[in-house]
């Protein structure tokens, strides 16, 4: 293993911009590759969302045809899930985990590069499917048969292929994260002195490894039905479409946690630093990630309360789903207690951190409501659900993603971000999310179903509000892009540890050298030792000075 590491690193001692377009095995390059790719797809998926909302400003299908609407709707969901949020989680994990545990690289650097390089082809393939005969897949990101078997055969087949590619990528990535976290920590760091982001990624990776293969199996069978004429799910040949739903949701419910857990980890890093307090209840937050991961595996049928499931099954899945509120509640209360009494620095990263708490709690509460079977039967497949999961995934995971982005931008680039533009970005996102997604709950309760290009005229006023909100969200991309480009060139130099944080990634230069640390880092404090007498490393102080001060044994 050591030999592999050395030989791969020996080839690029100096970072060149071209490295970002090659099969580079440095985890930091791969992290950036993931991040940039995922944001490219964020803008594409976002543009699709604007098309959908423009269409929905009026009750008639007058902006795009209903077929095209369904294609955009399917692609919006697929891109935002598989090509934005999930790879963005992988981006942070790739960049941060080796730094946080004090390793030189991931456990399997080449596998890591392979995992990344499966993603762009998957995404390009998916976008290319718009131009095949019959257009892109149009049966929603769920691709329920029999509809997926009869609408746009080639688009659907390409959709399956891309999701398989991206799924494979995330399985390979997870193997790497688990091994790196468990095997490559520096010797002083036990599991309980590991940053919470690592705990979150451990839980996420376990979930990916257990559930993604089932999705792959479902999609392969669906693909057989589609092109080989088998009848696994096709009722005309005796197949059962409900079986597909079970297999699909066995992955896709956990997928929700795959999308949000990494950002739970990000929030656990951002809040303590910017409120200068230790995270409240470290172990409770760490273990609750594992609890969510476990419970996440046994709740899938709550997506199928109306699709003909036996009564006892609905009751079991209702109880299991509600139970997730407990570990999630522990986290939310723990984070609130973390900032309570602190010295809060309201910079952009922290604003997004608090914005995460403020909007995610809304998604959490409606999530508990949805778990109640009698109520879920009313709102299943309506805009109430659309509102709910956008609060969880955009208000939660998305906000968490931006919090992490602003928090680690100085580490990744060596430059500080422009705070004013950052705050404008936050304001637009925060207003946009609430204006777009809050009224959707009411739409769903009143009777507007989801995935429709044409609707009843009585719903128009609320839909106009949602569309205005969506335009505000679209506008928020502007200050964000300007800020990133401007700060990359003109941002203030960040130095080693601008936030005066305790986790290991801040012990090295910004951006870190190719092999991460000049010398093997030492744990001189826990990851969140704020308010104790632990000495902080800052840019004036070299590692050697610190070592001398702490009196740590030499390596």
């Amino acid at each position: 293993m050591t030999i592999t590491l050395e030989s791969t690193h020996a080839t690029h001692k100096e970072r060149k911009w071209t490295d970002y377009f090659t099969f580079c095995t440095d985890h930091k390059v791969i992290g950036i590759q993931y991040l940039v790719t995922s944001f490219a797809f964020y803008f594409i998926g976002g543009a699709f969302a604007e098309v959908l909302r423009t269409e929905l400003a009026t009750p008639d299908p007058d902006f795009v045809s209903p077929e095209l609407y369904n294609q955009f709707m399917t692609m919006h969901g697929t891109i935002m899930i598989f090509l934005w949020i999930v790879p963005a989680g992988a981006a942070f994990a790739n960049y941060l985990i080796p730094l946080m545990v004090g390793a030189e690289d991931m456990a399997f650097p080449r596998l890591n590069a392979v995992a990344f390089w499966l993603t762009p082809p998957g995404g390009i393939l998916l976008l290319g499917s718009f131009f095949v005969d019959g257009g892109a897949a149009q049966s929603g990101w769920t691709s329920y048969p029999p509809l997926s078997l009869i609408s746009g055969k080639w688009g659907e087949e390409i959709w399956i292929l891309s999701v398989l590619l991206i799924g494979t990528s995330s399985i390979l990535g997870s193997i790497n994260f688990v091994t790196t976290i468990l095997k490559m920590r520096i010797k002083d760091m036990d599991l309980h002195s590991m940053p919470l982001f690592c705990w979150a990624m451990l839980a996420t990776s376990a979930l990916i490894l257990l559930s993604t293969p089932v999705l792959a199996a479902a999609l392969v069978l669906l693909s057989f039905d589609l092109i080989a004429g088998t009848s696994f799910f096709n009722p005309t040949g005796g197949g059962d479409p409900v079986v597909y739903q079970h297999m699909f949701w066995f992955y896709s419910h956990p997928a929700v946690y795959i999308m949000i857990l990494p950002f739970f980890g990000v929030i656990s890093e951002v809040l303590p630093v910017h409120s200068r307090k230790p995270v409240f209840g470290y172990r409770a937050i760490a273990y609750s990630s594992l609890a969510i991961s476990f419970l996440g595996l046994i709740v899938w049928a709550h997506h199928m309360f109306t699709s003909g499931t036996p009564g006892w099954l609905r009751m079991f899945f209702m109880a299991a789903t509600m139970l997730i509120a407990v570990p999630t509640g522990i986290k939310i209360f723990g984070w609130c207690a973390t900032i309570w009494g602190g010295k809060i620095n309201l910079n952009t990263a922290m604003l997004f951190g608090i914005g995460f708490l403020a909007t995610f709690v809304m998604g959490g509460l409606t999530g508990v409501m949805l778990s109640s079977v009698p109520f879920d039967i009313h709102v299943h497949d309506t805009y109430f659900v659309v509102g709910h999961f956008h609060y969880v995934l955009f208000g939660g995971a998305g906000m968490g993603l931006f919090a992490g982005f602003y928090h680690w931008f100085p580490k990744m680039t060596g430059r500080m971000i422009n705070e004013t533009l950052g705050k404008i970005h936050f304001a637009l996102i925060f207003i946009g999310i609430n204006v777009t997604f809050l009224p959707m709950h009411e739409l769903g309760l009143l009777g507007m179903n989801r995935r429709i290009a044409l609707y009843d005229i009585q719903f128009q006023p609320i839909n106009i509000i949602c569309t205005v909100g969506a335009y505000i969200l679209g506008l928020s991309a502007l200050p964000f892009i300007i800020n990133v480009l401007w700060s990359l060139v003109k941002g203030e130099a960040a130095g080693r540890n601008p936030w005066r944080a305790y986790t290991l990634e801040w012990q090295t230069s910004s951006p870190p050298a190719i092999e991460n640390f000049e010398e093997e880092p030492v744990l001189w404090a826990g990851p969140y030792d704020y308010g104790t007498d632990s000495e902080l490393i800052d840019e004036e102080e070299s590692v050697d000075d610190l070592l001398a001060a702490v009196g740590s044994p030499s390596k």
Binding site: P235, Y282, G308, M369
Partner: protein, 317 residues
């Protein structure tokens, strides 16, 4: 950790409770409830809204308070207090959601049971015998109460068929076929839901009931509406490009109006079958089918019988 004095905490607690209780009952977010079942669902929604409002106010309140009260003074580089946790507090906020979740689960279970969710006929998966009887369709799985066929208020049975992009309602008791669903007020209704092509979902928001129509399976939905009116029937499961246009109307009428509608829409009675020109030939034997023509052509019935038996005989060979 700085905690406001007890009195202020108490006042805030009482205020949050009062606001939650009021909003939980007066949110006005739901459409009209057209049945007792719908009212039950509304009750559980109100209960959840009460709790959710309380929790929402607490969390958002804490966040807003923190942002205002604990902002870093410019130039202050010191840290906050090093509080790593508080076991009694953590036990408290683990216990409270656990208790809430238990109460909610039991309450939901009760309502679900009242809706007939655990009714053996609607909700249990079919036994092997039943599958044998219904070789083409797996019977099962729905929700709602539709009463007993032998009671003095027997259910109105309607076969519902979902297809791209329409609902077809067949009344097997009267033979009526309609694109709209008419039911009398206060009479239990049993819908046998099928789908011909892809998945659909039968949903009437005012009844708070929804059931997927699954190709290859039959599902059942039962309800008793107690409020006259016209309610939308919506397809809630993505079924293709014009999914949004797959709509119909549920008319809940007084028994008299319903009887009038039934009378006006009944198909021509069986007694008049003889006069009809087009006869379904599938159910007739060759002899019966040929009989009218035989008379015209002057062929003896005996010859015909002979012919038929020969034909059948050869058919068996």
């Amino acid at each position: 950790m700085k905690i406001p004095s007890n009195i202020i905490t108490l006042i805030i607690g009482v205020l949050i409770t009062l606001i939650s209780l009021w909003y939980g009952q007066n949110h006005g977010l739901m459409p009209v409830a057209a049945s007792e079942d719908a009212k039950q669902v509304d009750n559980i929604f109100n209960f959840m809204m009460t709790i959710a409002t309380g929790l929402f106010l607490i969390v958002e309140g804490v966040l807003i308070y923190c942002v205002i009260a604990f902002r870093r003074v410019k130039g202050d580089q010191s840290d906050g207090p090093s509080i790593e946790g508080n076991v009694p507090l953590e036990i408290l906020w683990t216990a409270i959601p656990t208790v809430i979740v238990f109460i909610l689960a039991i309450y939901s279970f009760e309502v679900y049971n009242e809706l007939g969710g655990l009714d053996p006929i609607t909700s249990r998966d079919s036994s092997p015998q039943q599958i044998a009887m219904h070789s083409h369709h797996q019977v099962a799985l729905g929700i709602g109460i539709y009463g007993d066929e032998n009671s003095n208020n027997p259910p109105l049975i309607v076969d519902v068929q979902g297809m791209q992009y329409a609902w077809i309602f067949t009344y097997p008791q009267t033979g009526i076929v309609s694109g709209e669903l008419h039911v009398p007020k206060d009479r239990p209704v049993r819908l046998n839901i099928k789908a011909t092509d892809v998945l659909h979902a039968f949903w009437v928001p005012q009844l708070r009931l929804k059931q997927d129509a699954i190709p290859g399976r039959d599902s059942i939905l039962g309800f008793t509406s107690n409020l006259e009116g016209n309610y939308p029937i919506v397809c809630a499961e993505l079924c293709g490009a014009y999914h949004g246009g797959m709509k119909s109307v549920l008319y809940v009428e007084s028994p008299e109006t319903y009887a009038q509608w039934e009378e006006a829409n009944k198909p021509v009675q069986e007694a008049s079958l003889d006069e009809t020109v087009a006869v379904n030939t599938k159910n007739l034997s060759d002899g019966q089918y040929l009989a009218p023509y035989a008379q015209e052509m002057g062929i003896q019935p005996e010859t015909l019988a002979q012919l038929t038996s020969q034909h059948q005989h050869s058919g068996h060979l």
